[in-house]
């Protein structure tokens, strides 16, 4: 066995009912390296980590650590074997002191009793090794999330015996805090630790990692030296190359004369989720938001629909200044929102198609103006026909429909409210090709009728096909805008990978 190899996994497979989450994935972590695990959502990154740390039992495959085969059955066992994991959310006790959080469960003792002095001293030393100079006797909650994350890492490092897994540790940190974390990671790498680093941020991958393993759809795409893999290629590895702009389902109709702005956002921002962004959505326009997952696409949509409250910025609808937004108000203003995860935030599975369709309309009308069942049926049948929803009747439970048809029901829900702006967050994710095309066609038709659409999709082909303009986001920053002939998949991908380029002036990669 290669001496540099610290952790080696071979042929890892894992399936869940109906999904092959991982199939025959190999992974190698060397001593003293930072190894990025990349892939779009659902690519199998977390499943791989959970299989390695014993949260899931793997269906097939073997894992070696330091040349010895291991079978961790729980995170705790993995910890004992020297693999410790820091998750996205901090899993510590905020009410205890910093020192306690590092040593809980393995207190230093003196005459049977906990030796606080030793504990505090050793915590201090441990944190100083990570360049963190804080009072370890204070409770954890008196420090920022970044410091808490650092304490979690300190605990993990102290427990770990060689392998440290950081699962999206930077998503709640700001630029400076990320810097600090990276300094620590470099230090640990130089001390010989092997670090697996999961992140969606390309900049961070190129700044800190030595090698990259890319997963797609549960399969290994490859392992690359970071320095030798251009960003564009990394992105295309991640999203796959199946996107050939060949099918011409629907075409952009000439929508002139409708050039009046409908929604204008100026400097809309929320700390930790999106840096200031300017957006103008015209009537009858399809505006796209492009970017990798975590680039702030969904966050922008949530700000506009009023689900999240912005920290700063101005927001006008039809030239009327909005002092605050919340979903009810958004609906009254004629907004509709189909969320990213329709299973969780979109459909009400137990209800029928009819009930799901009239939900938003009823909500806008208020609770006291009940729509008669006959009227509801009329509406439902109308949209079932219009959107070609495949179902025996409007009384079918929505959870029995296929993904594409569920998506259409949600679209119908908002269409029933006669919206002026539809926000569609990944409306085509996880549905089959035929339905995808139909939904795209529908979007174009709606725009033709003068409805504005804010369209979010990971599929660039779809964006180029549907959108009049595309705003590109990266690492929570708007980095530029493309329209007309400039708007090609390659250009968008380039911008996502390389940053603003020709749009440098707009690209405040806000440090």
């Amino acid at each position: 066995m290669d001496t540099g190899q610290l952790l080696r996994a071979q042929g890892i497979s894992k399936s869940f009912p109906g999904v092959q989450a991982l199939s025959k994935v190999d992974f190698t972590l060397r001593r003293g390296e930072i190894h990025a695990l990349m892939g779009e959502n659902g690519a199998g990154k977390s499943t791989l980590i959970k299989a390695l740390t014993g949260v899931y039992e793997k269906d097939a495959g073997m894992v070696w650590m330091n040349g010895r085969e291991i079978h961790p059955k729980s995170p705790l066992q993995a910890q004992d074997m020297g693999i410790s994991t820091v998750y996205q959310e901090v899993n510590l006790c905020p009410n205890l002191t910093v020192a306690e959080n590092i040593f809980i469960g393995r207190y230093p003792r003196k005459r049977m009793l906990i030796d606080w002095e030793t504990m505090n001293r050793r915590s201090q030393e441990l944190l100083e090794r990570l360049d963190l100079y804080i009072d370890v006797k204070q409770s954890l909650s008196s420090y920022s999330v970044a410091v808490q994350q650092m304490v979690a890492i300190a605990r993990a490092v102290d427990i770990s015996n060689g392998v440290l897994i950081l699962d999206e540790p930077t998503s709640s940190l700001d630029t400076n805090e990320v810097k600090q974390l990276f300094a620590v990671m470099r230090k640990l790498r130089n001390e010989g630790l092997g670090i697996i680093f999961v992140t969606h941020f390309l900049d961070q991958v190129y700044e800190i990692t030595d090698r990259i393993t890319v997963l797609r759809n549960g399969k290994l795409v490859g392992e690359f030296e970071t320095e030798q893999l251009p960003r564009t290629q990394l992105v295309s590895h991640m999203i796959g190359r199946e996107w050939n702009p060949d099918d011409a389902a629907g075409s952009k109709q000439a929508r002139k004369g409708e050039n009046q702005p409908f929604v204008i956002a100026k400097g809309l921002a929320k700390r930790g989720s999106i840096e200031p962004i300017d957006l103008t959505i015209h009537r009858g326009e399809v505006l796209g938001l492009a970017g990798l997952l975590g680039s702030g696409r969904t966050e922008v949509a949530k700000l506009i629909f009023g689900i999240d409250k912005p920290d700063e910025g101005e927001f006008t609808i039809d030239n009327a200044m909005m002092s605050s937004m919340y979903p009810r108000k958004a609906i009254q203003q004629g907004f509709g929102f189909t969320p990213e995860d329709r299973k969780v935030a979109g459909i009400v599975g137990e209800l029928s198609i009819r009930e799901n369709i009239v939900l938003a309309l009823q909500a806008r009308e208020g609770l006291f103006k009940a729509l008669s069942v006959r009227k509801q049926k009329e509406i439902a049948d109308h949209y079932i026909q219009l959107l070609r929803i495949k179902t025996p009747s409007s009384e079918q439970k929505i959870e029995n429909l296929s993904g594409g048809n569920q998506q259409k029901v949600i679209l119908a829900r908002w269409l029933a409210t006669q919206p002026k702006l539809l926000i569609l967050d990944e409306p085509t994710r996880g549905i089959d090709v035929g339905s995808k095309l139909e939904i795209r066609k529908l979007i174009l038709e709606l725009a033709g009728q003068g409805i504005s659409v804010l369209f979010i999709s990971a599929e660039l082909e779809e964006m180029v096909q549907c959108c009049d303009r595309v705003v590109v986001l990266r690492d929570k920053n708007p980095i530029g805008e493309l329209a007309g002939a400039d708007m090609t998949e390659d250009r968008i991908m380039h911008m996502i990978a390389e940053g603003g380029l020709t749009h440098d002036q707009t690209g405040g990669i806000g440090a």
Partner: protein, 350 residues
Amino acid sequence: MKSLYGRISHNNIIIFATLLLLVLLYGAGSFQYTGFFSQQVFLNLFIDNAYLIIVATGMAFVIISGGIDLSVASIVALVSMVAGSLFQQGANAFVVILASLAIGVLFGLGHGYLIARFKLHPWIVTLAGMFLARGISYLISTESIVISNSFFNEVSQYKIRLFGDGFISISVVIALVVVVAAILGAKYTAFGRAIYALGGSEKSSMLMGLPVERTIVSVYALSGFMSALGGVVFTFYTLSGYSLHLLGMEMDAIAACVIGGILLTGGFGYLIGPMLGVICTGIIQTLIMFQGTLSSWWTKIAIGFLLFLFMAIQRLIVMQKDRGATKSARRKPAATLQNQPKSVNKIGNL
């Protein structure tokens, strides 16, 4: 560690508030009524409330762990009944005390097991335990039983002389030993710290490898034990068993915890607190007694107001802490980062 004691911080300010209240109340009483400021009036606060100090201290552990124990008062009543009826059968005092403590521990173990194993809510489980214990005491007898055991009589009458002519009872010594043991146990044993961790976040405790279920069972067993010990001490005090003893006392215990700075949301509080809380309510009672014309219900009214006040103060402190957290967030990492301004620039150019 010395600096911890000397400093008023967010963590101990509520204890200082309680102490201040104690001094104010006692000062007001001394100013108003002659004879209030005497050693024995002060010592009587402990003598009359020794059982409550013990029960409230047990309750504090449960609350810190994020739970609640509503059965404590019923267990005190049950213990007094069991003691009474065992003595009627001619049992030995030692056996009676052991049996009492065993009953408390068994109740606590049962509560803890149900809560930990079946993920039941502690309110419901201990409410059931409360009915059960009270019901069993009715079953033993609906009449009050007088206890005439010589050992119990002796303990009850025994006065430990302090300087001057002040004295305390053996019960007070037991209560103080319990409080000291609780303070040390909470701070210096793994069990004590696990209780705090549990109250902070059960999920995190599990992920950090703490024996969560065992801790839950143990903490309720501890509370059961303390209730039973409180019951024995209460029996020393009243020398009677009665199934209607101390109806609603569990709320007094909870109130004492809250006034003593134990956060009802769990995870926070000092074990000296419940005793201070008990003494506070004791002083209010004494004040109303000295006043003479007010009905004893005024004690409840005063305690009600105090509870509102203290919960508001606690909430304010927590809110301030949250605000402080974001402040330190910006200050602390920035300070270390100033050493490496170059790298900060680099990311700007990327």
